[in-house]
Symmetry: D3
Subunit: 250 residues, 6 copies
Amino acid sequence: MAKRPDHRGIIDLRPIRMERSFPTAAPGSVLLSAGGTVVLCTASITESLPPWMKAATKEQDTVSGWLTAEYRMHPASTSPRSERRDRPDGRATEIQRLIGRSLRAVVDLELLGPRTVAIDCDVLKADGGTRTLSITGAFIALVEAVVSWNENSPYEIPLPFLKDSVAAVSVGILAGEPRIDLCYLEDVDAEVDMNVVMTGTGRFVEIQGTGEEATFSESELHEMLRLAKLGISRLTQLQKETLGTLWRFG
Amino acid sequence: MAKRPDHRGIIDLRPIRMERSFPTAAPGSVLLSAGGTVVLCTASITESLPPWMKAATKEQDTVSGWLTAEYRMHPASTSPRSERRDRPDGRATEIQRLIGRSLRAVVDLELLGPRTVAIDCDVLKADGGTRTLSITGAFIALVEAVVSWNENSPYEIPLPFLKDSVAAVSVGILAGEPRIDLCYLEDVDAEVDMNVVMTGTGRFVEIQGTGEEATFSESELHEMLRLAKLGISRLTQLQKETLGTLWRFG
Amino acid sequence: MAKRPDHRGIIDLRPIRMERSFPTAAPGSVLLSAGGTVVLCTASITESLPPWMKAATKEQDTVSGWLTAEYRMHPASTSPRSERRDRPDGRATEIQRLIGRSLRAVVDLELLGPRTVAIDCDVLKADGGTRTLSITGAFIALVEAVVSWNENSPYEIPLPFLKDSVAAVSVGILAGEPRIDLCYLEDVDAEVDMNVVMTGTGRFVEIQGTGEEATFSESELHEMLRLAKLGISRLTQLQKETLGTLWRFG
Amino acid sequence: MAKRPDHRGIIDLRPIRMERSFPTAAPGSVLLSAGGTVVLCTASITESLPPWMKAATKEQDTVSGWLTAEYRMHPASTSPRSERRDRPDGRATEIQRLIGRSLRAVVDLELLGPRTVAIDCDVLKADGGTRTLSITGAFIALVEAVVSWNENSPYEIPLPFLKDSVAAVSVGILAGEPRIDLCYLEDVDAEVDMNVVMTGTGRFVEIQGTGEEATFSESELHEMLRLAKLGISRLTQLQKETLGTLWRFG
Amino acid sequence: MAKRPDHRGIIDLRPIRMERSFPTAAPGSVLLSAGGTVVLCTASITESLPPWMKAATKEQDTVSGWLTAEYRMHPASTSPRSERRDRPDGRATEIQRLIGRSLRAVVDLELLGPRTVAIDCDVLKADGGTRTLSITGAFIALVEAVVSWNENSPYEIPLPFLKDSVAAVSVGILAGEPRIDLCYLEDVDAEVDMNVVMTGTGRFVEIQGTGEEATFSESELHEMLRLAKLGISRLTQLQKETLGTLWRFG
Amino acid sequence: MAKRPDHRGIIDLRPIRMERSFPTAAPGSVLLSAGGTVVLCTASITESLPPWMKAATKEQDTVSGWLTAEYRMHPASTSPRSERRDRPDGRATEIQRLIGRSLRAVVDLELLGPRTVAIDCDVLKADGGTRTLSITGAFIALVEAVVSWNENSPYEIPLPFLKDSVAAVSVGILAGEPRIDLCYLEDVDAEVDMNVVMTGTGRFVEIQGTGEEATFSESELHEMLRLAKLGISRLTQLQKETLGTLWRFG
């Protein structure tokens, strides 16, 4: 069995730190690091809806809210520095759509009312697993933002708005061997790369398994899913510790 | 058990037609229809590489080729007509990246040499399952293009270039019930939407399962994968019939 | 007198095929081929007006409709494949404006009421004469769309909306000799290139005669116009046959 | 017979002024006014070729030059002010392509050698006929630029480079009556609008006749062409007077 | 002490010409030249407000107007010709913001009422000092536009709208020596470049002093400000002469 | 004398924190806060030059390096959240040009050799003074980056590359009274806003004084400059403490 670059076991996550209430103007924010990957996640709430949604809900009785997400790599998140782009490239677009869907799976948009939650995930240091760490962090920022909103705003968002917690982890196959939470060096060599998003109660939200110039068997699929479930369970525990008294799930 | 809008059984694909050598200037092309969905897939081969690849391969001995894909909705593919988007939006970007990865998983880019295969998938009529039909058709266009290239060009692409066949199908859960090959009416109501890409020899290339504002259990996942394997097997058979003597897999 | 690449006589059009009701989601569509040129024309009708028109008609009693057109080359319409662009280039912009004007010349926009007809002309194979074939096909798609609309919609568009038929053909001067319906090989060598749009009743809609790095005399102009009239008359006949019972002109 | 807004006869051009060597950094420039229309035309010469041309001429022995044109409306050219468009819209694109073709028809690009002439036509006041006045002025700027270049540059452009002079005029049909050099008020009401570009020796360069929501007969076409020839002849005379000793045609 | 390229003294402005009512469709316009720099300034007035302002003033009693400015280099203003860009680059953006602020400092936007003054500054020939000449000219165009508006429009803009006159000049340090009104040759070699905008009554509107790859001392700053005041005073005198009876300040 | 919103004296800076080596992939980075304003500054060094510079230096013997800067507001830096702008707007463009010029004034680009320093300033929380805090922080990141580069790279950047330190502060006039380091509430009400950039040895790098819809007298200018010098001196001291042993100026 090959050694991992950072000497972890196959089922070990990288060391994770979560710093809640990182200074921004958003009501919810967290700075997460997992090994060499660092992501700043914020959650903002605004009293408006995207135009397409206003049009869509015009003829309905109840007005549902919306949750959207943006994901960007800071230019200094890579070495050498990467150039800023005029708009999100294909990869960033795909990732921010994934983050948005993952969060929407655990909230009740009708209870949110006519407001929009905007999640921003900015990668400050990229060493693999930025999209899954973004989802894990976005949930923390979301909870903090809703609690803060309820303390400061005349309209209170009913707390069943948050139906479950959500977290994500990457798994993959490298040299024929399944591994969890791949760092960048592992990621570029992996035959199969899979991102798994699950709730705190163990249901699937999203599975994205991809063989880039490779394929995988059914048994490899099952082994990857098994690792993912173990990791998500650990991440849920860390989210709970970080949120402290703000946690109200399971 | 609820009836499907077109009275199919849960495991039935929609009626499929594949018209090979559809008139374009590309060496490979096919017009596919599956129920109310119609896609034109073409495969072109050019004697050049994308700039980023030229830069990347500068210091290597062998020069690998590339395969890329573009996906667009024709404005008249929906009713009412949708605005023409020359630049792919987030959804189209995501889909064309999926098509490209799926095809690259079954070809040997080193054998292609310093040339690029460009797949174009243009949806002429959209009734659900456009991305999976695009993958299934793109493979047919690719095979036709390579055979035609070998007949007309001084340099022959070695046929082991094609390592396996590839096809794709959608599965989903609607009203708690798994179904295959969802049409648009089913798609909008589905709790879970999953696209599965597999090779003709039964290996996974890509799994993308998504609960939009919903989640799914492990047993639901397994039932969807079972349906997908059945469908892919049938699609592989149809690809084989359409390609006739051009088919040389399994 | 020089031989033409495809051995036609100077006044002969290329062989033309018109396949009406080609499968898209538009109420009117036709796939046309003229020799090696293939164009898909669709006509869609929507219950809305472009913003600039709403502003313009705000203070008027009657609300006039609008007809607009888009023209694109499919990437696989040329060999080698041409790249998709983010927006129509100068040539495409010019052509789609010509198609729109040509169709508007034979319709009564006031009778259309507050709705927009959108013509889409997508070139699938380009071998010269794509803009004139687009106009000829767009008229067929338009008639089919209006008839279908009247069958399926509560508001009927009065048929005098269609004032005349319209068709177009290219003529040119090659090696000092006027010719009709130039294929690509002739087009690139032509000293003068002229596109003529005429109605079924023999009136001019548009004349665009261009000497690229060349000029032409008055007698050459007259000879080109004579050829064009012959061709348009033949094209009108073919439109009539394709539309069958839907034809109600002249 | 209806009176024209400015009491001209049907065959009368508007009063024209041409101020050569208008202060810019270009070697050729002229400020033209025709009635209420004012255009600044400049011609610049650079020692380079557009990238597409360099690629195209790579394998040829002789290196041909290029002439290109840009056309813009100054925001203050209309009342009320129009928004500045740095990027040409569809109309401007069409016009600048016309200006470029018209000038290229009377020059010998091979004699120009590996350099580019860039024509800039900026409309300072718009009262109809801006594109034809631009062509007429661009020719003056071009001649001035070439002469100035030959005085100041080590490489002399052989004067047969200029094969003929070129000028342009608009004609149209208003209330059934042909007219020349339409002002804006006439232009908006015209049933047919035709721009004619001719050389000083009376050959056609370009004819663009357009019936916007109207059509025209063959005899109307001939009458418009007759008026155009009269006007072009007068404009050629004015170009000759403006260029003075720089004139060397016919 | 080094000689200046055009043999001026250190405190001498270049020869200035101001041609008021230059032919455009704007109510105010002036063509200014200072040595080899030529700028066309126009002022247009429209009965509308920018969208952001409408939103901002929605809840207020009085409706304030707005003044905005655009600045562009004509492609033929430099030799060799510079390419047109799709939108203003960083330098142009910065300059047009400066022009807008400078003019707004001497007008009373509340007295303007719900209308927008749009200043357009187009550089026709660039030989240093284009931004300061633009400000000096923009003020003349503005006064002419307001007077013309008051003559032709039912609503009169109260003349206290114009609180003071404004003009601008560049100063700099070259080879350790302060100079005024630098031409291009001096500008590229200057260690420090400072633009000073002042009112006719001697108050500062804007100071922008910049050491590009250099720094400057406090005494150098004071000497530059002294030169600037001298120049502004002379420019104010020239504005007064150009505006003649339209001048009503100081 | 009016009280300041945070009860500071007129000459007091807000409380400042500087956290060096903030986790990113850049060799130099610092997180600064001044009262409610938080900025992340990074400095990256790449072994390449911008294309325009390569062209410019082609014919020179020595190859000079370049330093460039980018400035962005994080969407969550304001409340309510502002839209993400991947492409800098006019204000951001102006600011990042200022940051770049300010840093270039204290470095010797020739000693840098053929490499580019890229400064990134991302505002995480905006409460006034973001551009001056960016400059102050960018200098710290720059020093850290150069020292780190020299430890890790075969080519050492000679330390005289850093000619002086640089810092910046805002001053302004509010209700007729000069103040230093304005917070957002003061900034919006200020009659005059001035940003002053100075070196650690007390020389001016840049002065940008602006009266938005207001003007200022010479004595007010001098009082603002006096306050700025006091503030810069304090900021230089803080930079020195933060850099510790890395500091080698004055």
